[in-house]
C-alpha cells in the first residue's frame, strides 16, 4: 500500500494563491468573509505564508504554502478523546467529521496550527453555493476540519487502478493544490516507492521537514535555498 507524501519547492512558489483557490473549490472550504478572517477564523486548508528572511537591504521574502503535514506521530491524534482524528493505513491523518464533538484539543495540540474549526455555520454567497463539489461533504458548525490530501481523489484513483488491475502510477494522484500550481512547486506521490518524484525530492539536500525536531514526523517536505539543481521533476529542470 502506498504511503502518501508531498514535497513543496518553495523556491518555485511565487505566492499566486492558485493552490488556495483550487483547494477551496475542490474541498468545499467555506468563505469566512473579511470580518471573521480579521478575527482569525478563516478556514484555509492550505494557506500561503509570507516569510521574510534577512534584514534590509538584504531582504528576501519567501512564500510558503502551509497545510496539514500528516504527521507520522501526530499530536492531534493522541489528544482526541473520541478518535475523531486517526491515521489511515496509507498514511493520511483523517478527520471523521460526524464523530467530532468539538473539544478543539487537536487544534490546540497541533504545532503547525493547521486545523480549522467551524466557529459558525459555513455559508456560500450566491451563486457560489452552486459550485459545491458533490464528492466532498460540507461540514457544519462546531467541528474541526483540515487538509485531507484530497482523499476523494486518492480513493477514486485507487478504485480505478484496482479495476484495471494495475498499480497507481507516479503522479497519477494529484491533489487540487498540486494540480493547480502553475510553477509545479507541489509534488505528490508515494513515499514508499523509491522511484517516485516525491521520494527523490525528499532525498534532496534542499529538503527539510517543518518542525522536524519535535519528532512529529511530518510527511510534507519543503525544498528551499535553490541552486542545487536536483532536476528530478518529471518534464522540467531547475
Amino acid at each position: 500500500m502506498a504511503k502518501w507524501g508531498m514535497a513543496i519547492d518553495i523556491d518555485r512558489c511565487d505566492g499566486c494563491n492558485a493552490c488556495v483557490v483550487a483547494c477551496r473549490a475542490e474541498n468545499n472550504v467555506p468563505i469566512a468573509g473579511p470580518e471573521q478572517t480579521e478575527k482569525g477564523r478563516a478556514i484555509e486548508w492550505i494557506r500561503v505564508e509570507r516569510h521574510v528572511e534577512g534584514e534590509f537591504p538584504n531582504v528576501r521574502v519567501r512564500f510558503v504554502p502551509v497545510m496539514c503535514v500528516h504527521c507520522d506521530e501526530a499530536p492531534c491524534v493522541k489528544v482526541c478523546p473520541v478518535s475523531a482524528t486517526y491515521e489511515t493505513p496509507d498514511g493520511l491523518n483523517a478527520q471523521i467529521h460526524p464523530r467530532c464533538i468539538g473539544t478543539r484539543a487537536c487544534g490546540q495540540a497541533c504545532p503547525y496550527t493547521v486545523r480549522y474549526f467551524n466557529w459558525g455555520e459555513p455559508s456560500w454567497e450566491a451563486p457560489l453555493e452552486q459550485t459545491i463539489n458533490p464528492d466532498v461533504a460540507v461540514r457544519w458548525k462546531g467541528i474541526m476540519e483540515k487538509c485531507t490530501f484530497c482523499v476523494q481523489r486518492i480513493r477514486r484513483t485507487n478504485d480505478q487502478a484496482r479495476d484495471e488491475e494495475r498499480e497507481i502510477r507516479d503522479g497519477e494522484v494529484q491533489p487540487a493544490c498540486a494540480q493547480a500550481c502553475p510553477a509545479q512547486a507541489i509534488v505528490f506521490g508515494d513515499r514508499e516507492d523509491p522511484e517516485s518524484a516525491v521520494s527523490k525530492l525528499s532525498e534532496s539536500p534542499r529538503a527539510e521537514r517543518p518542525l522536524e525536531e519535535l519528532g512529529t514526523g511530518p510527511r510534507v517536505v519543503y525544498l528551499k535555498k535553490g541552486g542545487w539543481g536536483d532536476g528530478v521533476r518529471p518534464g522540467s529542470s531547475d
Binding site: 482569525g40 499530536p75 493522541k78 489528544v79 473520541v82 468539538g102 478543539r104 503547525y112 496550527t113 459558525g120
Partner: protein, 449 residues
C-alpha cells in the same frame, strides 16, 4: 452551664440559619438568579449561532471556558483535601470548617465541569467520550478522575452530614420527609457512631490521592501537548499546589461571609482564620517557588518558541495580568499573612480575595498566553483573543451559581457540623476535667466519688 445545656445552645445557634431566612438572603438570591438567567440566555445564543459569538479563534482554540474549568476545579481542592488532611492529622480546630470546605468542593466541581458544556463545539454529543473513549487522550483521563472525585466528594460531604440530618428530621419545621429520607434511620447509637467514624476515616484517606490525581490530570491536558510553556514536567505538582492555595482562599472568604451573615462568631473564631492563614502563607511560598522555577528554566533555556511566550508574559500583552498575578498571589498574601498583627479575620480575607483573583489570572495566563504563541512560524495573521460577551456572561453565571448553590446548601443543612462541634466540646471538657483532677492541687479533693 451543664453539658446538655451547652449542647442545646450549640444546636440552637447552628440551626438558626437553617430555620430563619432574612430579607438579605432573598435579595442576594434574586440577584444571583438574574446573573444566571443572563448567562443561560447568552448560552442559548451561542448554541444557536455557534462559537462564532465567543472570542476564541485560531490559534487560541481554548479561552475563558477552559480557564474557568481549571480555576473552579482548583477551588474544589479547598474542601475535601484540606478537610481530609485536617481530619487525619486530628487538628481539633478543623471542626467548624470541614463542612463548608466539603460543600465548596462539590459545588466548585460542578461549576468547573459544567464548562465542558459551553466549551464543546457540539455539546449535544457530550456523552460520546463515555461510550467510545480514546484512552490515550488526557481529556479522557480528566473525565475519569473528575467523575471519581465528584462521587467521592459527594460521599465525603454526605457521611458527616448524617447525624445532623437526624437532628433536622426531629426538629425541622419543614421538609421533614426529606431529612428523614437522607438521615437513613440514624439513631446515634454507639454502633452507628463507630461505623460512621470508620467510613469517614476511610473516605478521608481515599480522597487525598483522588484529589491530587484530579488536578495533576487537569494539568496534563496542557502538559502532554508540545505547546510552548505547557509542555512542562512541573505542571502536575504546580497545578496541585495552586489548587490547594486557591481552595484555602475560597474557604476563608466563605467562612468570613458565613460568620458575619449567620452570626457564627462563636464558632468561626480568629484562631481558625489565623491557622488557615498560616496554611495559606505556606502555600503562597510554595506557589511562588514553583512559578519561579518554571519561569527561570524557560528563561535560561532560551528556546525561541518558549521565550516568545515568556516575553509576552513578562513584558508583552500579558504583562499586566502577569505582574498582577505575582502581586495578588505572593506579595499581598506574604505582606499580610507573615505578621500575627495582620493575620486577623479581615487581614486573611483581604489576602484571600487577592489570592482568588491572582489564581484566576494564573489560569488565564497559562491557557491564553501559550495558546496565543504557537510553535508554527506564524507569519500569517492569527487571531488575538479577547473574551466576548457570552464568555464573560457565562463566567459571571458560574460564579453566581456557585454562590447560589452554597447558599441553598447552607439554608438546608447546618453549615457548621453540629455533632462534630458537640463531640469536640465534650472532648475539651473531658480533657480539662482530667487536667484539673490530675494536676491541680485540689483535684483529688474535688473528685466527686
Amino acid at each position: 452551664m451543664t453539658a446538655s445545656g451547652r449542647d442545646r445552645a450549640i444546636e440552637e445557634s447552628l440551626l438558626r440559619p437553617v430555620f430563619e431566612t432574612g430579607r438579605g438572603v432573598w435579595i442576594t438570591v434574586g440577584l444571583l438568579v438574574a446573573v444566571i438567567a443572563n448567562g443561560a440566555y447568552q448560552w442559548l445564543l451561542q448554541l444557536q449561532d455557534g462559537m462564532v459569538i465567543a472570542g476564541m479563534n485560531q490559534p487560541v482554540y481554548w479561552g475563558l471556558y477552559i480557564t474557568n474549568y481549571v480555576f473552579f476545579i482548583g477551588i474544589s481542592h479547598a474542601g475535601t483535601l484540606i478537610s481530609a488532611i485536617l481530619r487525619l492529622t486530628q487538628a481539633e480546630w478543623r471542626r467548624p470548617i470541614t463542612r463548608a470546605a466539603e460543600a465548596i468542593t462539590v459545588f466548585a466541581l460542578l461549576m468547573g465541569s459544567s464548562n465542558v458544556l459551553w466549551h464543546l463545539g457540539r455539546p449535544e454529543l457530550i456523552y460520546v467520550p463515555l461510550l467510545s473513549p480514546q484512552l490515550l487522550s488526557p481529556l479522557i483521563w480528566d473525565v475519569v478522575c473528575i467523575s471519581v472525585y465528584l462521587l467521592g466528594s459527594i460521599t465525603y460531604l454526605y457521611l458527616p452530614l448524617i447525624p445532623d440530618l437526624a437532628i433536622l428530621r426531629d426538629r425541622s419545621p419543614r421538609l421533614r420527609w426529606f431529612y428523614r429520607l437522607l438521615a437513613l434511620g440514624w439513631q446515634g447509637t454507639s454502633r452507628q457512631h463507630q461505623l460512621l467514624e470508620r467510613a469517614i476515616g476511610v473516605m478521608a484517606v481515599a480522597i487525598i490521592p483522588i484529589a491530587v490525581s484530579v488536578h495533576t490530570v487537569v494539568s496534563w491536558v496542557f502538559a502532554m501537548s508540545l505547546v510552548p510553556m505547557w509542555h512542562s514536567a512541573i505542571f502536575g505538582p504546580y497545578f496541585v499546589v495552586g489548587a490547594i492555595f486557591s481552595g484555602i482562599a475560597a474557604l476563608l472568604i466563605a467562612m468570613a461571609i458565613l460568620r458575619k451573615t449567620f452570626h457564627l462568631e462563636a464558632f468561626l473564631r480568629p484562631i481558625h482564620f489565623n491557622n488557615l492563614g498560616l496554611l495559606m502563607l505556606t502555600m503562597a511560598c510554595l506557589w511562588f517557588y514553583f512559578t519561579f522555577a518554571e519561569h527561570l528554566t524557560v528563561w535560561y533555556g532560551n528556546e525561541p518558541d518558549e521565550i516568545a511566550v515568556l516575553n509576552a508574559r513578562l513584558y508583552g500583552p500579558f504583562s499586566t495580568a502577569f505582574w498582577s498575578m505575582i502581586t495578588c498571589c505572593f506579595i499581598i498574601p506574604l505582606g499580610i499573612l507573615s505578621f500575627k498583627r495582620t493575620r486577623t479575620v479581615i487581614g486573611t480575607v483581604v489576602a484571600s480575595c487577592a489570592v482568588v483573583v491572582g489564581m484566576w489570572l494564573e489560569r488565564y495566563i497559562i491557557v491564553i498566553s501559550s495558546a496565543s504563541y504557537p510553535r508554527s512560524e506564524t507569519m500569517w495573521d492569527g487571531g488575538v483573543y479577547t473574551p466576548s460577551l457570552v464568555e464573560i456572561s457565562l463566567t459571571a453565571a458560574e460564579f453566581a451559581a456557585f454562590v447560589l448553590l452554597f447558599i441553598v446548601f447552607a439554608k438546608l443543612f447546618p453549615i457548621v457540623s453540629i455533632w462534630e462541634i458537640k463531640e469536640g466540646d465534650e472532648r475539651d471538657i473531658d480533657a480539662v476535667t482530667d487536667i484539673l483532677e490530675r494536676e491541680s492541687p485540689g483535684g483529688a479533693v474535688r473528685r466527686p466519688d
